[in-house]
């Protein structure tokens, strides 16, 4: 199952998508129009590039300080958060526990989680874990 579909299985996730680092290709699922998903993709790509540039500056002051390469970023709004890891973005509600779950799934995508977080996550959601994952 694609990471976007996995994210959309989590209650409270509004929309999730994937954008290209170059060009204007994107895909998404959830409560966004195609035009808004296009805008979100551009916004997330722009911010990700900016933050990568900032981490280059950090590393020039403290090499191996543990920042570079940047995995992503989070903006915590009043009721909604935007999470980006790699080239995946996710809009989710600020319901208790949700942000940590979303970040666990998204960081697993870039190989930062050693355990099997997807099995753990689906076990929390309920239902047939094997059917949903495999």
């Amino acid at each position: 199952m694609r990471i976007i579909s996995q994210l959309m299985q989590i209650p409270g996730v509004i929309a999730a998508g994937e954008y290209a680092y170059r060009g204007d290709r994107y895909s998404f699922e959830g409560n966004l129009s195609a035009e808004h998903a296009r805008m979100a993709s551009i916004l997330c790509r722009s911010n990700t590039l900016s933050i990568n540039m900032q981490s280059e500056i950090f590393s020039s002051f403290a090499e191996d300080c543990g920042c570079k390469p940047v995995q992503g970023w989070i903006v915590r709004g009043r009721d909604t958060s935007v999470c980006v890891v790699g080239n995946i973005f996710c809009f989710c509600q600020n319901t208790p526990g949700l942000l940590n779950d979303v970040m666990t799934i998204m960081r697993a995508k870039v190989g930062d989680i050693e355990e099997n977080p997807l099995v753990y996550m689906y076990a929390k959601i309920g239902g047939d874990v094997n059917e949903k994952l495999y």
Binding site: V75, Q93, R107
Partner: protein, 114 residues
């Protein structure tokens, strides 16, 4: 809420306070961390800038799409390779990614007063 309290956030490597311009006002570092006050100062400036950009984007997004719930921006996190910087309301923490509890960090920062 103080830096001492922020140092109790799970996985925290550093806690810091910064001015509206991003200058480092106070900080505490976990013993053994490779972070330095200079990196924290850069992080603070970065996070102030990113919070401002996020506010601009949130405001624009709400106006363009009609969706609400983004403004006011409560916090921002930069997720690095080994650690994440989480900031909000002139305070910030750096937490190890493997122990990171982002909600706890945002919640603790939300209780900080300058």
């Amino acid at each position: 809420m103080s830096l001492d309290r922020l140092m109790q956030v799970p996985g925290v490597l550093a806690a810091f306070q910064y001015s509206d311009k991003g200058d480092l006002v106070a900080h505490q570092l976990r013993e053994g961390t490779e972070l330095t006050p200079q990196v924290l100062d850069l992080l603070a400036h970065t996070c102030v800038a990113n919070m401002a950009v996020a506010t601009l984007e949130a405001r624009g997004w709400e106006a363009l799409t009609g969706q609400a719930g983004f403004e006011p921006v409560q916090g921002f996190s930069l997720v690095g390779l080994d650690w994440s910087a989480v900031v909000g309301s002139n305070f910030g923490v750096v937490v190890r990614n493997r122990d990171a509890d982002y909600e706890e960090a945002f919640s603790a920062l939300g209780q900080c007063k300058s």
